[in-house]
């Protein structure tokens, strides 16, 4: 049975390059659907009415989304696909946290930098699908402050909590969704180990180095990273839900 993959990318050269990367990465039979903009992507995905779409042969298993699309930002699609049971990956030229962090919050499972070499991309893609998402120092730093302040910041801390967001130092074409305010729940807190891992990551250490420094196995470090990702997604989904109920959308 073929695995369905959706690639949303407006540049045809890049699209065919990503197709090659996807085919190279997996040994299974693969059916690739290509979309040049958000509208056709939405058409391919189909209606998203039900609470949770059951994973079936019809659903996409893997979705690559470019952030800059002719008719909008890829994050819009990611937000719509929050409950879609696929591995969602952001493919972008932007490597700074101002762009990537909101994308991860929107439910992306990882990101690929389009300028990386073919072999690197293949390797990274395999890692993401296996559950070893990348985590750059800048994003690790952002995660640390995100979880330290509580998502969306708390009261008076809001101004200090997300200076980069507030000051608009990034130059993204569209702003991330406004974040709701909620009490810090369990999924909004990091364990001490996770914090430690994030701290090392923010200082530029590799996973192997962190494993050495902390005296644990490298895959344990990786588990922590996966858990952090999950918490970020869960917490942002919880926020989105809070926000949606506030606006009477749910």
């Amino acid at each position: 049975m073929a695995i369905k993959v959706l690639i949303v990318e407006d540049n045809p050269v890049a699209r065919s390059f990503l197709c090659r990367v996807v085919r190279e990465s997996f040994s299974d039979a693969i059916v690739i659907t290509e979309a040049g903009d958000l509208e056709s992507a939405r058409r391919h995905v189909g209606p998203l009415h039900s609470e949770r779409i059951e994973a079936s042969a019809d659903t996409f298993k893997l979705i690559l989304v470019d952030l800059e699309l002719p008719d909008g930002n890829g994050m819009e699609l990611l937000t719509e696909l929050v409950r879609y049971p696929a591995t969602k990956i952001v493919t972008t030229l932007y490597s700074d946290d101002d762009h990537l962090f909101p994308a991860l919050q929107c439910g992306a499972d990882g990101y690929l930098l389009k300028e990386d070499r073919f072999e690197v991309l293949v390797e990274e893609l395999q890692k993401i699908v296996r559950g070893q998402p990348p985590l750059s120092p800048a994003i690790a730093r952002r995660l640390l402050s995100h979880f330290r302040q509580g998502p969306g910041g708390m009261g008076a801390l809001a101004g200090l909590g997300e200076p980069a967001l507030a000051s608009g130092s990034g130059f993204q074409s569209s702003r991330p969704l406004p974040l709701g305010r909620g009490a810090p729940l369990d999924h909004e807190r990091l364990t001490p180990r996770e914090s430690e891992v994030l701290t090392y990551l923010s200082k530029g250490f590799t996973i192997k180095e962190i494993a050495n420094l902390m005296g644990i196995k490298w895959f344990t470090v990786n588990d922590h990273i996966k858990s952090i990702y999950k918490k970020l997604n869960v917490s942002s989904r919880a926020e989105a839900a809070v926000l949606a109920s506030k606006h009477g959308l749910v």
Partner: protein, 766 residues
């Protein structure tokens, strides 16, 4: 009468300073403990101030004002009702009276004749001389003359009460005149002016004491009332042509003696308490009052020989004591009030002594006309001068400009009059000559002194205006970078402007810029210059302007207000400019990234060879570094270091090269865009070299930032040799260029056993 009365030590500032002075008095300790929180609290919280006025004080003040006005009116009415011979008299050189002018048709015929005697049918005739038209016994030097004057005035008073008065002239001619009530219109402008001034002085004294009743304000009120009394007497005396009506002639000497002595003692007492309580103030006060009573009682009873000299001397001593106390007090606490008062005091004491000498010389010459003129005009001028000083005191800090002009004018007119009298007395100049000479001299003095004072003030201000603005804009920039340092920077600016002895930031809200505490203190709220300032409201308190030489004035408060306003504007302007710039940078960065980035990406995918692909990839990465640098204005070193390490690790591990990373810095500085992108590209280039050309298997990066000096060592273990012989291609040239941009040097050296070490040193990073 007291020259030094000018420095009374009571709180001058009845409205502003009263709560403060109250606190100081009740806790003498706080005189030295500067800016204690309580002081600030009291000056800042003035909520009940207005409410206090609503109570008994206001009623009392109204009563006092009504009583004062009524008193003056009754006095004027009574004066208008006293009988008088409608004639003006002058003294001849021999001390006899000569009829100068008369509105009585019966007397007109006798104008120019010397008066021999005055009598009536019921009363024995008397021969009036100069003493009859000398209004005040207070300024008669000789004890016997004074007694004679009092007796003569009493006789004249009873004579004028008769139906007709017979005037016998020296040539034997006789004129019978009917004394008539003089009428309210004949009182003259001088009477009303002096009485009005007296009333004002009295009212100011009342207001001050009622605003904040305390020992010091009471002393001030005592001085004011005494001077008001003096002025009223002077007003009455100005109307007299022949003889002073009873009971004024009897009361004149003891009353005016008491007024002068009370003022003298009060000023010493007050100065011992304000601006700072001096050690032994109680003893000093008692001594002053005791000595004044010791002079006053016997003098009033006529038991003191040379009473006039005792009086003049006593007052002069009190005045000098006041000046001495102020000097001492200023040493203990550098309160500018003491300096201003000292100047006033010196002025008043010296003019007092000048007046005394003038009167004494005039009387020693025994030229009655001169003596009478000196004794009549001199004291009037002096008392008016003193009263104006008293009046000014509560408003010292309100308008220094006006006060300066006024006191200069008053002092110089006093000097002019004294000089005029001296010329008349010593050189026996004619009236016209002496007045002209004195007028010219004093005008010259006034012009010179005024020019000098203004020049001093202006030149200082003009110098600082220019510098102030320069500083203002520099501070605006600094505030933008460090909003939390606003108060400190503002204090530094204001310190240069006003040179206060103390300037402190307190955590209190102050509504506006205000001068408080007799002008010794300036309070201003620290403005919230940036949005991010979340700290508690703070105020700046400055005390003792110009190193304790000057009082703060309302002009200073206005200037400070303007400066703060300008600072706010400058900061807002800077922020707007900075925002515009960063928006522009962002736009450029986004355009570069989106357009050029996408094209380079397409180019990279379509590259014919791996080399070309790598080349484009590096170009793309450089473009990303560039746009990133444009987008973010600064990068903390710790953040940058993390990214450098991750980036280099990824690059090197892709080429199977091990990275040794050593980072040491003593503080987390903020790298500018130029520094960040420069260092990023230097490190990237050096690593690329180590991979591509040296074929190394290990690269060690040692990054040290100690103080302001940055050392970067990039060591590889490749086969590169003899760096001097390298061709400086694009890579190494780029490194050199960027290091030079950062103001550093770079050199390559061989290391044993093999490899190259590149050393980048930037001696002054910031």
């Amino acid at each position: 009468m007291d020259p030094s009365a000018s420095h009374r030590g009571t709180p001058t500032d009845s409205q502003e300073g009263s709560p403060l002075s109250t606190s100081r008095r009740s806790r003498p300790v706080t005189h030295d403990s500067l800016l204690d929180s309580r002081l600030i609290e009291q000056t800042l919280g003035r909520v009940e101030h207005l409410a206090r006025w609503m109570g008994w004080r206001l009623r009392f003040l109204v009563v006092a004002a009504l009583a004062g006005c009524l008193g003056v009116l009754l006095l004027a009415r009574w004066m208008a009702g006293t009988p008088q011979v409608a004639a003006e008299w002058v003294t001849t050189a021999t001390g006899q009276l000569q009829l100068a002018a008369s509105s009585d048709p019966g007397l007109n015929f006798h104008v120019g004749k010397v008066l021999a005697s005055v009598g009536s049918s019921q009363q024995r005739a008397i021969s009036p001389d100069v003493l009859a038209i000398t209004p005040s016994a207070r300024w008669i030097i000789d004890d016997l003359d004074r007694v004679r004057q009092q007796a003569m005035h009493a006789q004249l008073d009873s004579l004028l009460a008769q139906q007709t008065v017979r005037l016998t002239f020296a040539d034997g001619m006789v004129a019978d005149v009917q004394p008539v009530a003089r009428g309210i219109a004949s009182l003259g402008a001088l009477f009303w002016l002096l009485a009005g001034l007296g009333l004002v002085v009295y009212m100011v004294g009342m207001i001050v004491v009622l605003a904040s009743p305390s020992v010091r304000t009471l002393l001030y009120a005592a001085m004011c009332s005494s001077q008001a009394g003096n002025l009223i007497f002077l007003a009455v005396e100005s109307t007299v042509a022949l003889g002073l009506p009873e009971p004024l002639s009897r009361l004149d000497f003891p009353c005016r003696l008491a007024f002068d002595l009370i003022t003298g003692a009060a000023i010493v007492h007050a100065t011992s308490l304000h601006p700072r309580r001096v050690p032994g103030s109680t003893t000093i006060a008692w001594a002053a009052w005791a000595s004044m009573i010791a002079i006053g009682l016997p003098a009033a009873g006529g038991m003191l020989q040379d009473a006039w000299w005792w009086l003049q001397g006593g007052v002069a001593v009190m005045g000098s004591a006041t000046v001495a106390l102020l000097v001492w007090s200023y040493r203990l606490l550098r309160h500018p009030f003491a300096i201003v008062m000292r100047r006033f005091g010196l002025m008043a004491v010296s003019t007092w002594i000048l007046l005394t000498v003038a009167v004494a010389i005039a009387s020693a010459d025994r030229v009655p006309s001169v003596q009478q003129q000196v004794a009549e005009v001199g004291p009037v001028i002096w008392y008016v001068f003193l009263s104006s000083l008293l009046l000014l005191m509560p408003f010292l800090s309100k308008s220094q400009q006006l006060m300066r002009e006024f006191s200069l004018l008053a002092a110089i007119s006093t000097v002019a009059t004294s000089l005029d009298l001296l010329f008349v007395a010593v050189f026996s100049f004619g009236q016209f000559t002496s007045v002209t000479l004195a007028l010219f001299l004093s005008l010259g003095l006034y012009a010179g002194a005024r020019e000098w004072v203004l020049n001093r003030v202006r030149s200082r201000n003009m110098l600082t205006t220019e510098r102030t603005f320069e500083k203002l804009y520099r501070i605006a920039r600094e505030v933008e970078a460090h909003p939390d340092r606003t108060p400190i920077l503002l204090v530094r600016l204001l310190q240069e402007l006003f040179e206060p002895l103390e300037a402190v930031v307190v955590e209190k809200r102050s509504p506006t810029v205000r001068v408080v505490s007799d002008g010794s203190t300036l309070l201003l709220p620290v403005p919230a210059l940036t949005d991010k300032q979340v700290s508690a409201p703070t105020s700046i308190v400055m005390r003792f302007a110009n190193r304790g030489q000057r009082l703060f004035t309302s002009d200073d408060a206005r200037l400070t207000d303007r400066i703060v306003e300008q600072l706010c504007r400058a900061v807002a302007f800077d922020r707007a400019v900075e925002q515009g710039r960063s928006e522009e940078r962002l736009r450029i960065a986004q355009d570069l990234h989106d357009d050029i980035g996408a094209r380079l990406l397409t180019l990279m995918y379509k590259a014919q060879s791996p080399e070309m692909e790598d080349y484009v990839r590096h170009t793309l990465q450089d473009l990303k570094t560039l746009t990133r640098g444009l987008a973010a204005p600064n990068h903390p070193l710790s953040h940058a270091a993390g990214e450098w390490k991750a980036d280099l690790t990824q690059r090197l591990s892709a080429a199977q090269v091990h990275l040794g990373w050593h980072l040491a810095f003593d503080r987390d500085v903020s790298l500018t865009v130029v520094q960040w992108s420069g260092l990023t590209r230097v490190m990237r280039e050096l690593c690329t070299n180590a991979i591509a050309h040296a074929g190394a298997t290990r690269v060690d990066i040692d990054f040290q930032l100690i103080g302001d000096r940055l050392d970067l060592f990039v060591t590889d273990n490749g086969q590169g040799r003899n760096p001097q012989a390298w061709a400086h291609g694009l890579g190494l040239g780029g490194v050199r260029k960027r290091v030079k941009q950062l103001g550093g040097e770079v050199e390559w050296r061989e290391v044993e056993p093999h490899g190259i070490r590149c050393h980048v040193v930037i001696r002054r990073l910031s």
